[in-house]
Subunit: 351 residues, 2 copies
């Protein structure tokens, strides 16, 4: 039957958001793993550490003192990749040596005053506060910049150098590669099919159910049909929404609910604080605010690196870098595994 | 001056092979690193290990016994991501749920009978043997398959699970994403400028010199103008060559020479066996052998993960995955550093 065909033999799947294909080789999970194992995430983090530059009241690298915050806390990155006033590099105009000015701003947002919590362990009203601040930052920086990238690197495995719960916001005077590609794909789909790609996709997945991980009346979290990372998910509103700033109060509450549930399942998968990189994609801002962006649909991508256990990740290396991304279990297998996990966090169950 | 502008402030550079941009933020090297450190590569590997499935005469997972080889050794991957006879998955034809059959073959090639050598430590005539076998595999598999991907994952950091010197060859009945994109870009460039993109590029870099790491009369290794990984390099023949099978005996000897020199510099950078993923891109094969592929130019990409030291890598995470790749030193700085390293391997110097 069809299920057998896709779990026992490799095949290709199309990613309509990036116009690429992924190689799905589910039979590869059978091979033994003798390669690198990661250090499992640190489980005992002090609530307050006097040397941690993200804790309330502490002094950062540049000498600035954090406020004694009791909710979220936003400040400018002390080592920003994007600065507002970089000079034009002056291209030599040869088509093989093109450069351009890049200007922008990098902010950091702490989610909570405590270092020993993460989003799934925070209260719903505290997560809601994070969502409101995300929208506030897109509102504020979006008046000036065409792209405001909100992203969270969670866990040392994802290059995160501080266990304190936080995310980053990098706003730029250019549309970066990934949103530019996504914009092209969504635009072409809308033109051809008369409906936003991801709105149609959300409806289809809500009906099919096989890739749904969690859902509520406003939101849907699925392992996308074209997922590349083993437990990658896509978080989508059911209503057509262009930007995070357009979410109603009810939708923000629903988002806090689904985020807590999705991230609890992630943590429960291997009973560790699950590492990932996540980020929001919505219609571009700045001068694009005045354009018709109906082809866009707000969504968040979650890219977690782990494959087999708390310490064995998927290496996206040789073949993936040089040729094409390849996955070792089907998206349906991943979704089923996540769906069947309890919605109570393993840490609160223990107590 | 211009040098100051690009090392002190961020800017964008265009990658004409992928039609993407990279954010270069050289001033970011100033930030301190408090994040994950990797285990340095194992330095004491036994020449022969009775339990290593890649050593001569040993038995592999599937019960097959390796020949008592004394040079290179090629066999079929015991856990192949691509099999020759996978069934058609049968797409449901909805544009958001497209799948396709994927068929192919995966081979492994050991470079040498000893586990304690790597390409830079092998003799030139031994490296030449590897090159001849690469060409042989492309010749053989290329009669049937449109794409033959030769790649080497070196080091545990790059997901390599066996220290024995080896590479992989995955041939497929489809053109994977990366070569498909590269094909499009090279074709468009050729059409517009009447010359192969990479041939023109090699000539320009040979003149400019600032990004050259090593060169000889037939080859050039540069940190490309648009490099994303800190010490990424691009290896190019000076003559217009479409495929590895087209290299003359002299060019193969020159390739063995430049590979040894480049990889020695890599090892000397942090005085460890330098991890990387590398692979060859040349004109497609199979039915494409009969087409005009003059826009193609053979090249190898080297993607090494390390940034600061033997144990601190560059994390391509949140912003890179969601928005755009970002680098922390300029390609010119990386090239200069590599260029100034000795051409004698730190291990042979020690003795
Ligand atoms: O086949 P190997 O060497 O065991 O596996 C390695 O290379 C493959 C091809 O790049 C990757 O898919 C794997 O994630 C990696 O661990
Ligand atoms: O700014 P951070 O958190 O120190 O740095 C982390 O995220 C950045 C944005 O994804 C990456 O460029 C860095 O490689 C990573 O270590």
């Amino acid at each position: 039957d069809k299920g057998d065909k896709v779990t026992k033999h490799q095949h290709l799947r199309y990613n309509p958001l990036r116009d690429t294909w992924v190689l799905v080789s589910a039979h590869r999970m059978k091979r033994p793993w003798a390669g690198q194992v990661e250090k499992p995430p640190e489980e005992h983090i002090p609530r307050y550490d006097p040397r941690n530059p993200l804790c309330p009241g502490n002094t950062r690298a540049n000498g600035e003192v954090n406020s004694d915050y009791d909710s979220t806390f936003i400040f400018e990155n002390d080592f920003p990749a994007l600065q507002p006033d970089a000079p034009d590099p002056g291209s030599d105009q040869h088509p093989l040596f093109q450069s351009k000015a890049a200007r922008g701003i990098c902010k950091v947002m702490c989610f909570h005053p405590w270092s020993d919590v993460t989003l799934p362990l925070m209260k719903k009203h505290e997560v809601l506060k994070v969502i409101d601040k995300w929208a506030g930052l897109v509102e504020e920086l979006g008046t000036k910049y065409p792209w405001v990238q909100i992203f969270e690197n969670k866990g040392a495995m994802m290059g995160c150098s501080n266990p304190h719960p936080h995310c980053q916001v990098w706003a730029s005077n250019f549309l970066p590669n990934e949103p530019a590609l996504s914009d092209r794909c969504q635009r072409a789909y809308y033109k051809k099919h008369g409906e936003p790609l991801l709105l149609q996709y959300a409806r289809q997945e809500a009906e099919k159910k096989e890739r749904v991980v969690v859902e509520n009346s406003d939101w849907l979290a699925v392992v996308p049909y074209w997922a590349t990372w083993p437990y990658q998910t896509l978080l989508l509103p059911r209503r057509h929404v262009l930007r995070i700033t357009d979410l109603t109060t009810g939708e923000r509450e629903g988002l806090a609910d689904i985020m807590k549930r999705l991230l609890t399942k992630y943590d429960n998968l291997f009973e560790i604080s699950f590492p990932y990189s996540m980020g929001w994609h919505g219609a571009p801002t700045g001068t694009h605010l005045k354009e018709d962006n109906s082809h866009w649909h707000l969504h968040a991508h979650y890219y977690p690196p782990l494959l087999r256990s708390a310490t064995v990740k998927k290496f996206m290396v040789g073949y993936e870098m040089l040729a094409q991304e390849q996955r070792d279990l089907t998206p349906e297998q991943a979704a089923e595994k996540l769906r069947n996990l309890p919605e109570e966090h393993y840490k609160t169950r223990e107590n």
